[in-house]
């Protein structure tokens, strides 16, 4: 057949030289290569004793952030649920009552916020959609469980702890923070 372009290059040569016809050199050469690998550092890690370092932008288990006063950022606008291609997020919104100002940042908040981790595909679109710095993916992985129900993560598992020492740092994945530096 006529070549379609001037760039074609035949790459497979099926004729064997005499040296190649003898099995032995190829076998010994192969053994030599594998032997060298014996003395190299293994490429595997002994998980779970040793854990791999994730990229700061890794898309793992979600966190619902609090602001510096410990109030929940989420205002239950529902944008994350709309953006979710896997339809994994459900929420129930509620009005903030008098005396709850120290718990919720905005006047509306999510009374129920659930992510079904079996549905979630960790695409990161919810994080991108959130206009209130409330939901982020993190470099933690979702652990395995024995029952399906336990994969539905409610606010108890998603909202970060209130103690400042246990807050989850997401600044490295916030584009507008990293790019300004």
């Amino acid at each position: 057949m006529q070549p379609l372009t001037s760039r074609s290059k035949i790459v497979s040569d099926k004729e064997m030289t005499i040296k190649e016809k003898l099995y032995l050199p190829a076998i010994l050469g192969g053994m030599w290569i594998t032997l060298k690998h014996w003395f190299k550092k293994p490429a595997t890690l002994r998980y779970p004793e040793v854990e791999r370092e994730f990229a700061p932008v890794y898309r793992g288990q979600h966190v619902l952030k609090r602001d510096d006063q410990g109030r929940e950022n989420c205002t239950a606008c529902g944008l994350c649920a709309v953006a979710c291609p896997a339809e994994a997020i459900t929420m129930v919104a509620a009005e903030r009552k008098k005396g709850e100002e120290h718990l919720y940042k905005e006047e509306k908040y999510a009374a129920v916020y659930e992510i079904n981790m079996l549905r979630c595909i960790f695409c990161g679109l919810c994080e991108e959609a959130c206009p209130k710095e409330a939901i982020f993916l993190t470099d933690r992985i979702v652990h395995t469980e024995y029952e399906r129900e336990t994969f539905i993560y409610g606010k108890d598992k998603l909202v970060e702890p209130i103690e400042s020492s246990e807050r989850i740092d997401v600044t490295k994945r916030q584009k507008h923070l990293t790019e300004k530096q």
């Binding site: 057949m1 070549p3 379609l4 372009t5 760039r7 074609s8 290059k9 035949i10 790459v11 497979s12 099926k14 064997m16 190649e20 016809k21 003898l22 099995y23 190829a26 076998i27 050469g29 192969g30 290569i33 594998t34 690998h37 490429a43 994730f54 990229a55 700061p56 932008v57 890794y58 898309r59 944008l79 709309v82 953006a83 291609p85 896997a86 595909i121 960790f122 695409c123 990161g124 679109l125 991108e128 959609a129 206009p131 209130k132 710095e133 993916l137 994945r173 916030q174 584009k175 507008h176 990293t178 790019e179």
Partner: protein, 401 residues
């Protein structure tokens, strides 16, 4: 080719056929597909293929989703090289909305797509060797596939189902970490790849095993609609990157490796050399990476920066509009194709101006190869059929049309 009756007379002891199920979950099929083989001794007399074990109705799903939410769906087509699928989809939408991206975006895309191609070919070729009984090379090459996945992780945060890039460009610029890792990869990989080449390419055992294993003529391949490495192995130098350049592929010089006979060895060698060509392209693109923005100025599709969303009403409105998919899309139809890891990956998109595609069709290369598979393996040995399936690199994710 001798007719079937001849073969029965020659080969079969008492002219009896046996039915053998290769798959659906067979370690040698590397995916969920069933082959019902009618065996005549060791030879395949007839075979019947079943597809649809992982039918997910992508096109139908896509009809209910705004354009930016379709990218995660494309991840799951050929999941060995999902960045190509993602970026191809973005280019299709950009074609529809008439968005022009900067050279930098083009070059960044080329780097990511060629990395994806390398990882796709590495897995395929390493698996061909495994199916011939050479497991060691596979373990060496798999480490490098993981390194490529580290690179994807540094850009987008995921390894396999990447959802990389956005309509109009990238979600973020290449990070320091990425630059460091890419440089290390470009420096170290060629040597390690050479090792794999030494192990396989001129090894007589491997050559005896793969040369003449299920050859396919260029004419038959074209009749079926083959593209990509499998067509090039038959000797046709058709490559979408050259014939119909997209994303500035015309800026780079590279060769198109072709085979002669279309047998398993040809397919293997074509992929081996494509890895080298991809490395050439990455080096060219990376060394000439232009300065500039990493996304185009399409306020209707590309999300505004987050700090503006937090503080500025107009940005917030745009943000809501984009996320909810309420931006105006022109009416029309487009076809765009990219050279996927495994052949021409096409997107046919019809828009009626609504928030979701009116119709969408993916041209899945693997689906086409699998149609030809029964013809290729007819009268072949069972063991040849196994290496042929892995050398066609049929990925189950693309078989659910």
């Amino acid at each position: 080719m001798s007719s079937t009756t001849d073969i029965i007379e020659i080969d079969s002891l008492d002219n009896e056929f046996q039915t053998l199920n290769l798959g659906p979950t067979h370690p040698a099929t590397h995916g969920i597909f069933q082959n019902i083989l009618t065996m005549n001794g060791e030879r395949i007399h007839h075979s019947e293929q079943t597809v649809g074990y992982i039918h997910r109705a992508f096109e139908k799903l896509a009809e209910r989703r705004p354009y930016n939410q379709i990218t995660p769906i494309t991840d799951r087509l050929n999941y060995c090289s999902s960045p190509i699928n993602n970026l191809g989809w973005h280019m299709t939408v950009e074609k529809l909305i008439g968005c022009k991206v900067s050279k930098r975006v083009d070059y960044m895309r080329v780097i990511i797509m060629e990395l994806a191609r390398i990882s796709d070919h590495l897995v395929c070729n390493a698996v061909i060797a495994v199916d011939c009984g050479a497991l060691t090379g596979f373990t060496y090459m798999f480490q490098w596939r993981e390194k490529i996945y580290d690179l994807f992780e540094a850009v987008c945060g995921a390894r396999l189902t990447t959802n990389i890039g956005r309509i109009g460009g990238f979600e973020r610029d290449f990070s320091e970490d990425f630059h460091k890792k890419l440089k290390a990869f470009l420096a170290e990989f060629p040597e390690k790849f050479q090792e794999f080449r030494d192990l396989t390419e001129r090894n007589r055992i491997f050559m005896d095993r793969t040369i003449n294993a299920c050859p396919f003529s260029a004419e038959r391949a074209m009749n079926y609609g083959f593209t990509g490495p499998n067509l090039r192995a038959c000797g046709v130098d058709y490559d979408v990157r050259v014939m119909n350049p997209y994303s500035s592929y015309e800026d780079f010089t590279f060769d198109i490796p072709v085979g002669t006979q279309g047998d398993t060895f040809d397919r293997f060698m074509v992929r081996q050399h494509e890895i080298l060509e991809s490395l050439k392209i990455i080096n060219q693109a990376y060394n000439n990476l232009p300065e500039g923005p990493y996304h185009a100025d399409v306020p209707d599709f590309y999300l505004p920066p987050k700090d503006e969303v937090y503080n500025n009403m107009e940005a917030l409105i745009y943000h809501f509009k984009i996320v909810m998919g309420e931006t105006k899309v022109p009416v029309g139809e487009v076809y765009h194709s990219v050279e996927g890891g495994n052949g021409e990956l096409g997107y046919y998109l019809v828009s009626d101006g609504g928030r979701t595609p009116y119709r969408l069709h993916f041209r899945r290369p693997c689906f086409i190869y699998y149609q030809a598979y029964p013809e290729m393996i007819k009268n072949c040995l069972l063991s040849d059929a196994v290496v042929t399936l892995s050398s066609l690199n049929v990925i189950a994710g693309e078989l659910d049309a």
